[in-house]
Symmetry: C2
Subunit: 247 residues, 2 copies
DNA sequence: CGACCTGTTGACACATATCAAAGGTCGTGG
DNA sequence: CCACGACCTTTGATATGTGTCAACAGGTCG
């Protein structure tokens, strides 16, 4: 069936989606919206898009038209500068938004790449602005989401500016753990979707340093590490390590 | 006149301000807004606030109600974590907005401190949301401003994660230069409003390292440094240094 | 004028980067 | 089903950039 294959290759589907039925309501934009308004929202998210591991959701330099809500899967965003240096600026999971960076200049400023097979809701930005002029709670919630992104970035700046390697990794793992927990998964046991190199890039460290820190945590009984499978054995220990004063 | 002194101490004035007459229009929120709408904006910014050097505009933990547009002066924002570490997250100048971090949780997450005598317009946030439901261009411009803040933070993350000390300082100086230029000041000669320690905190470096980098730049003929007075002698040199591959 | 704050410079310590080698894991194709 | 190659991870030895500690210089303000 050539048509089916072609469709798959496009990795783009026009599916009538329904926020009113979506089980991500608590995480995604429509939080706290009145039932009557939810119908309007259904129009907002008109299409979904499926991506396979390694696919780009968007690339730096591409025109901006939509933001994306992750229905399932896992992403990274990274920026690249001329001289070849790059850095992972974030890892995003189910219920989180992608593409907010593109609003300012109508052009995406980073790459968004799926780290596992994923599905996103495509939210045309002008449409979102229109709707948020009608629905106060949507407008306010969207502003909160953008602001939260700013606060998150400040946290990363703090991490990069003041923490040492093991503190950074501890902070990273605790953050992941908490986000998995918020989604109903085990906060203690999870699979990393990213390589040591990607973790290092995010944390401003080399992959060898990340690897050594993992080994150290394992020696100290804080973690059980098996490849990308992580089990947190001592959350408090990690937390103490993270907030430990620079010696 | 005791009343006048008391008023000064309050550092808070209720002044009828007018965006329609403000010469910051090109930098601040009202960019590109129709004359008829500008009248509505005048209601938005009902008060101004004067701060002396060292005053806090707001503190982490305080309830959030307004954002602030800088009419004149210079600010820093910083975050503080329990264990005593802190970091400067940004320096803000005329025409830039402060307080966006507070939207997400209705509580400010950082401190905003005046680095010189300053004046800000107080913009009640609910009022801004109301008005941006009526004025599309205001809404869109506000979204752009928030997005730009996210992009800026990514730039800082890049700096902290991948650049070495001298590259960071070069990037910092070029950024300041460009912002002064955009405001009609000399891009080559300006006074730093912040201490070496504050620069170091922002750049994730110790003040001694910042000082040494300044000295090096001076030796190399890139800068003339006299205390906090900076003259850039070789912009291209700085730019090359900034984008230089890690050796 | 003297106290204090800020900045500069030097010597040394230390965390992390760099370079290198080897072992594991996974997917693919024979 | 096994074998191969590509990629990822771990670990060790060494190099290096920045932090730390300390002394001192210069400017500012009471």
């Amino acid at each position: 069936m050539p048509t089916s294959a072609a469709t798959a290759r496009l990795a783009f589907e026009v599916v009538k989606t329904a926020c009113s039925n979506c089980n991500l309501r608590e995480l995604c934009l429509p939080i706290g919206i009145e039932p009557e308004d939810l119908k309007k929202l259904d129009e907002l998210v008109s299409t979904r898009r499926r991506l396979k591991r390694g696919d780009h959701l968007y690339r730096a330099g591409q025109g901006f038209a939509s933001i994306y809500a992750i229905r399932s899967g896992f992403f990274k965003t990274d920026v690249l500068i001329e001289d070849g240096r790059d850095q992972v600026t974030g890892f995003q999971m189910t219920g989180e938004l992608l593409g907010l960076d593109g609003i300012s200049s109508e052009v995406h400023t980073c790459n968004a790449i799926a780290l596992e097979d994923s599905e996103v809701c495509v939210i045309p930005f002008l449409h979102l602005e229109g709707l948020s002029r009608q629905i106060h709670t949507l407008q306010h919630h969207f502003h909160k989401v953008m602001s939260r992104e700013i606060v998150r970035d400040h946290g990363v700046m703090m991490l990069l500016g003041t923490m040492r390697a093991e503190e950074r990794l501890a902070a990273f793992l605790l953050n992941l753990s908490q986000r998995f927990k918020a989604r109903g998964y085990s906060p203690a046991e999870f699979n990393l979707r990213m390589s040591r190199d990607e973790i290092g890039s995010y944390l401003g460290l080399k992959l060898e340093t990340v690897s050594r820190a993992f080994s150290r945590f394992q020696e100290d009984g804080l973690l059980a590490v098996h490849q990308r499978k992580i089990r947190i054995l001592n959350t408090d220990g990690l937390r103490k390590l993270m907030t430990h004063q620079r010696s």
